[in-house]
Symmetry: C2
C-alpha cells in the first residue's frame, strides 16, 4: 500500500490549511494516481505535523510513503527541515520505505499551468 | 502589447528570487504563451517590487499587464496586499489595463502536476 503525504508549511489561518486538505482530496480523484492514501501534513502551525502524518499513513497500512513538499522555492524548509523530518521518520519506521519527492516549484509543468491560468485574463477575456 | 507579471513573496535568500526569474524565462519559452513580456516582481524583500515591476512593463510598451500571484494559498498577501498594490497601480497608470489573475494554488491543474511529480517516486522508481 502506497501513501502520498503532501507537506505544506502550515498557517495560523486555518482556511489555508484547509486548502491543502482539499488539494489532497482533488489528488485522490485524479486519473492515474497510484497512491492508496493521499494525506496532508504540516511543517509547523497546523496538524498533523510531519512525524504524525507519516505515522498515520504507516498505521493505516502503507509500506511506502512519498513525502512531497508543497513549496514553491527551495529554501531552508525544503532543503533542510523537511529532509531532517524524513530522516527521523526513516529511523523510527525502518519497515517502511519513506521517499522524499521534489518540491512543487521544481516541476517543469508549473510554467505551463501559469500559461493556462493567465491566458484568459487578457483582452476581452477578463474574468474580474 | 501584453505583459505577464509573476509576483512572488520575495526572500532574503537571493537564490529563491532567482528561481522565480528562471520560471519567468521558462514561461516565455512555453508554447502558446500570449504575452510579449513575462517578468518577475516581489511583494517584499527583493527587487523589483510590484509598483516598479508594473511600471517597467508599461514603460516597455505594455498596454495590458496581467499580475499573477505566485503563491500557494489565499492568505492576506493574496487577498489584500497584492490587490491593494494592483489598485494603486491602476490609479497611477490609467492608460493601461491591469488585471489580477488567480494565484497559482487556485489552479485545478496543480493536482495533476503533483500526481505526475510524485508518481515516479514509488516502487523501484525511486530517484533518490
Amino acid at each position: 500500500m502506497k501513501a502520498l503525504l503532501v507537506v505544506a508549511h502550515g498557517s495560523r489561518r486555518e482556511a489555508s490549511n484547509e486548502e491543502v486538505r482539499r488539494l489532497c482530496e482533488r489528488i485522490r480523484n485524479e486519473d492515474g494516481v497510484e497512491f492508496d492514501l493521499v494525506e496532508a501534513a504540516f511543517l509547523e502551525l497546523a496538524q498533523p505535523l510531519i512525524p504524525e502524518g507519516i505515522g498515520r499513513c504507516i498505521a493505516e497500512g502503507a509500506s511506502e510513503v512519498v513525502v512531497m513538499p508543497y513549496f514553491l522555492s527551495a529554501g531552508r524548509h525544503v532543503s533542510e527541515d523537511i529532509p531532517a523530518e524524513v530522516e527521523k521518520a526513516r529511523r523510527l519506521h525502518p519497515q517502511a520505505a519513506i521517499h522524499l519527492a521534489p518540491y512543487l516549484g521544481a516541476a517543469d509543468a508549473v510554467a505551463k499551468v501559469i500559461v493556462n491560468l493567465t491566458g484568459g485574463w487578457t483582452d476581452g477575456n477578463t474574468h474580474e
